[in-house]
Amino acid sequence: MSAARDPSMERSGWLRFAASGAPLVALILAAVVLAPWVAPYGEAQFVGGVWDPPSLAHWLGTDNLGRDMLTRLIFGARNTVTLAALATALAFTLGVSLGFFAAALGGWVDALVSRAIEILLSVPVLISALMVLSVLGNSLPVLIATIGLLESTRVYMLARAVARSIVVREFVAAARLRGEGLVWVLVREILPNALAPLAAEAGLRFSFIFLFVASLSFLGLGIQPPAADWGSMVRENAQAINFGLPAPLYPATAIALLTIAVNRVVDRYLAAESRP
C-alpha cells in the first residue's frame, strides 16, 4: 500500500517529519554525546584566519580568533545543552515536589511555602543570578544549582496550581479515605494526571533556561572561555556584523532552531497525550 503512494505524499510526509522537530533534536543530542569524535578540529584549536569565509576545510568558516565555527558549534551544543538540561531537571525536581507537597497539604504549609517562593519570584532572575554568581564564582555546579533553584520557583507555581485542581477530585478523596499516605497520593494519584501540563512547561522551561545560559554567557558570567557555548559565540562574533559577515548568525540560528525544535517535540507529545 505505502509503496504505491503518490510521491508528493511521500515528500510531505518527510517534510512533516522534519518539521516535527524530532530530527533536529536528535541531531543536537548526537552532537552533545559525540562532540569529541565528530568535530573536525579541537574545541579551542586555532586553525585559520579571523572570520574566514566557508570553505571545504571549514564548512561554516572560522570565528573571531580563527577557530573552526562548526567545531565550536558542536562543542557549544555539548556545553550549553548539558547545562540547560541539568538545570531544568533540578528546577523540576525541586519545583514539582514542593508544589505538589504544598497543594496536597494545603493550610499553613501551603501558605508558608508559597509566600517564601513569591518573595524569591519578586526579584528578577537575572539580578539574583548575577548576585549569586559574583559571590560564589561561576563554576559549572554553581551555575547549574543557581539556575535550577531560581527557575524552580516558576515550576513551583505551575505544579502547585495543577495539583490543586487535581487534589479536589474525587479519586484523590477515595485514596485518602482508603488511608493512603502522602507519598502515594503525590506520586500515584496526582503526578500521572499532571504530566501533560508539566511536559509542556518542561519544553518551555528548557528553552528559557537555555536562553538564560546563553545570555549569562553573553554577559561573560556563564560558561568560561575557551570552552565554547552558543551564547558567548554570539557575543564573541558580534563584531563581524559590522563587516557584513554572517559569523554571529550561526550560533544565533542554532539557539533559535533548538528552541523551536524542543517545543515542537513537546507539542507532538501533548497532542498524542490528549487523544483518547
Binding site: A174, E180, R188
Partner: protein
C-alpha cells in the same frame, strides 16, 4: 406558509469522524404545534437528531445522508448565513445544562434579548418588555428585575425556565428541548415541566422533546419515537406506547418506571421477614436499646446527633439513625437538603461539627485522617460520578487491586486473581483489568467503583447517588447488582439518592432530609405511604408517573410546603 408537516426528516444518517453511525436512517414528521418525544438511553442518537433539526452536527460528526426539511426548506442545502438566519428565529434549542449554556459574564436579560434584536424582529425595548411578561408568566421571582441577575445568581430550576424564555424569544416555529429537566431534582422538575408545557402550548410551537425518562416525556409529548443505537425502535401516540409497547425494548423502558418486572416475590419475602423484627422507627438512646434486649438487631453503624457546618452555614443538623448488617437505609431529599453532607460526615471526608458515628459499637473520629486503617476499611464510600472517582491514569487492575494490596497485603498472582474475582463479582469481564477507565462506559465505571469498594471487604457501603449519572436501564442493572451483593455478602448500605423509584426498589428503611433536618424516618412503605409531613407528601407526589394527565392532577392538588411564593400557572395565551 405551506400545508404539510413543519419538520420532515427523511432517512437521516449521522456519522462520527471514526465512521461510527450515530444516527442510522431515521425518518420523522412533526406537524405544527405538535410535541414529539424522542426517548432512549445515552448513545441512542436523540441529541444528534435534535441538533440535526437545526441543521447542525456536533464536533467531528457529519450528516451523511437524508433530508431535513423545515417548512419545505432543506437545511442541508442552506449556506452558513442561511442557517444563521433560521436558527433562533424559526428553530430554537434548549440545552440540558442551562448553567453551561448561559454566558456567565453577561446578565440574563442581555442574552435573552440578543436573539430578537439581532434578527431585527423587535427593538431592545420591546424584547425586554416581552421577556419580563414571560418572567411573570413562568412565575420567576421579581419579574421586572430578574433579568438583571447573572446565571450563577439564580437557582437551577429558574435558570432552566430563563433558558426556555430565551429560546422562545423570537417566537420560533420549532423548539428542540434536549433533556431540559434531567439535571433537576423531582420537586423542581415538576415546576419546570409545567412551565415548559404552558409556554409551548400558549405559543402553539411545535417541539422535539428529548429525554431518557419516559414518565417525563409522557406528560408533554403527543407522540413518541423510541430510539436505540441510532435506530428507530418504535413510534406511535404516547398513550399507545405506554399502554401497549410493541417491542421488548420499549416494554423494558415502560417497566423500568413502573417497576413491575422487578418486584421479585422471593426478595419481597426476605424483606418483610426482616421488617417483622421490632425495629424502632426512630433510633432510641443506647440504654433503651439495651433494655429492649435481643429484639433489636445489633446495628453495625450508629449515628447520633450528626451535624455538619460549612463556615456558619448549617448543612445538616441533628441526624440520628442506625443501620443493621444486611440492611439498606435510603437517605432522600432534594439538592441542598444535606444528603451528601451526611454521607461525607459518616465516611469522615467532611468532619462532623457535632454528633457521633460508631462502627460496630466503636466511636469513630470525625475526620478520616484520625481513623484507623481497619476502621477505614470497614466503611467504604462509592461516589456519585464514576468519571471523577476513578483516577484516569491508573488501569482497572490497579484501581480495583489497590485496596486488597493496601489492606490485605496481597501481591502478584494472588492479587491478580483477586482482581479477576472482584470484576466477576460485579459482572465485568476480567479481561477489562488491563484497560484504562476512559475506555469503559459509565455503567462499567460505576461497577469498577463498586468492585474497588468491595475489594476492601467492608461492612458498610455508603453510596452517594451512585445511579444518578446513569441511564435508567443501566441504573437498574447497578441496583440489581447491589441487591445481589447485599444478599451474598451481607453488606449494609447507606444509600443516598433523590430518586424515589430507586428508594422503593432497594431500601428497607428511609430517612427523609429537608433543609438539613430529618423530617421522617422508618420502613420504606410506611414513610412513603403514610407520612404526615407535607414535604414527604409532595416529594412522593412529584415523582413522575407513567400516565398522561398526571402533571395537571398533581399541580392542581399541590400544596407548597416552602410557601415562599404562591405557585401559579397562568396560561400564556
Amino acid at each position: 406558509m405551506t400545508a404539510g408537516p413543519l419538520l420532515r426528516i427523511e432517512g437521516l444518517s449521522v456519522h462520527s469522524a471514526t465512521g461510527v453511525a450515530l444516527v442510522d436512517g431515521i425518518s420523522l414528521e412533526l406537524a405544527r404545534g405538535e410535541v414529539l418525544g424522542l426517548i432512549g438511553e445515552s448513545g441512542a442518537g436523540k441529541s444528534t437528531i435534535g441538533l440535526a433539526a437545526l441543521g447542525f452536527a456536533r464536533g467531528d460528526c457529519r450528516i451523511t445522508a437524508g433530508r431535513i426539511l423545515l417548512d419545505g426548506l432543506d437545511l442541508r442545502l442552506q449556506s452558513a448565513e442561511g442557517l444563521r438566519r433560521l436558527r433562533g428565529r424559526r428553530v430554537a434549542y434548549v440545552a440540558q445544562s442551562a448553567a453551561a449554556a448561559f454566558n456567565p459574564a453577561l446578565r440574563l436579560i442581555d442574552q435573552i434579548c440578543e436573539g430578537p434584536v439581532r434578527h431585527g424582529l423587535m427593538s431592545r425595548h420591546e424584547a425586554e418588555a416581552r421577556a419580563i411578561d414571560n418572567f411573570r408568566a413562568l412565575g420567576l421571582p421579581d419579574p421586572t428585575r430578574f433579568g438583571r441577575r447573572y446565571a450563577h445568581q439564580v437557582s437551577g430550576g429558574q435558570l432552566q425556565r430563563a433558558m426556555a424564555i430565551m429560546a422562545m424569544s423570537c417566537g420560533p416555529d420549532l423548539l428542540v428541548l434536549d433533556e431540559p429537566t434531567t439535571a433537576l431534582d423531582v420537586t423542581t422538575q415538576i415546576d419546570v415541566l409545567a412551565h415548559l408545557k404552558t409556554l409551548i402550548a400558549g405559543a402553539g410551537t411545535a417541539a422535539l422533546y428529548i429525554s431518557h425518562d419516559l414518565a417525563v416525556v409522557a406528560q408533554i409529548a403527543d407522540r413518541l419515537l423510541v430510539l436505540r443505537h441510532g435506530k428507530l425502535v418504535e413510534t406511535g401516540p404516547t398513550e399507545e406506547i405506554l399502554a401497549r409497547p410493541q417491542t421488548a425494548y420499549a416494554r423494558a423502558l415502560v417497566a423500568e418506571r413502573t417497576g413491575v418486572a422487578l418486584a421479585q416475590p422471593a426478595q419481597k419475602a426476605a424483606w418483610s421477614v426482616r421488617r417483622q423484627a421490632p425495629r424502632p422507627a426512630m433510633p432510641v438512646p443506647a440504654n433503651e436499646a439495651v433494655a429492649a434486649g435481643e429484639a433489636v438487631p445489633a446495628s453495625i453503624l450508629d449515628v447520633q446527633g450528626l451535624a455538619v457546618r460549612y463556615g456558619r452555614q448549617d448543612a445538616l443538623s441533628d441526624a440520628s439513625f442506625a443501620l443493621a448488617p444486611g440492611e439498606t437505609l435510603a437517605v432522600i431529599g432534594e439538592s441542598g437538603s444535606g444528603k451528601t453532607s451526611l454521607a461525607y460526615a459518616v465516611s469522615g471526608l467532611v468532619p462532623a461539627h457535632a454528633g457521633r458515628v460508631s462502627l460496630g459499637g466503636i466511636p469513630l473520629a470525625p475526620g478520616y485522617a484520625r481513623r484507623s486503617r481497619e476502621q477505614l476499611r470497614r466503611l467504604q464510600l462509592v461516589f456519585q460520578l464514576p468519571d471523577v472517582a476513578l483516577n484516569p491514569r491508573q488501569r482497572i487492575a490497579s484501581l480495583v487491586g489497590r485496596p486488597a494490596q493496601f489492606y490485605r497485603g496481597m501481591r502478584g498472582e494472588a492479587l491478580a486473581q483477586r482482581v479477576a474475582e472482584l470484576l466477576g463479582l460485579v459482572g465485568l469481564d476480567p479481561a477489562l483489568a488491563a484497560r484504562w477507565p476512559g475506555e469503559l462506559s459509565g455503567g462499567q465505571k460505576q461497577r469498577v467503583c463498586i468492585a474497588r469498594a468491595l475489594a476492601a471487604e467492608p461492612d458498610v457501603l455508603v453510596c452517594d447517588e451512585v445511579t444518578a449519572a446513569l441511564d435508567p436501564l443501566i441504573a437498574e442493572e447497578i441496583l440489581q447488582l447491589q441487591r445481589r451483593l447485599q444478599e451474598q455478602l451481607g453488606l449494609a448500605y447507606l444509600f443516598i439518592t433523590h430518586d424515589l423509584a430507586t428508594v422503593r426498589r432497594i431500601a428497607h428503611r428511609v430517612l427523609v432530609l429537608w433543609r438539613g433536618r430529618v423530617v421522617a424516618q422508618g420502613p420504606t412503605a410506611q414513610v412513603l405511604g403514610e407520612s404526615e409531613h407535607s414535604y414527604v407528601k409532595q416529594l412522593c407526589a412529584s415523582e413522575p408517573q407513567m400516565r398522561r394527565g398526571w402533571l395537571e392532577e398533581t399541580l392542581a392538588g399541590r400544596v407548597d410546603p416552602t410557601a415562599a411564593e404562591p405557585v401559579q400557572y397562568p396560561h400564556a395565551n
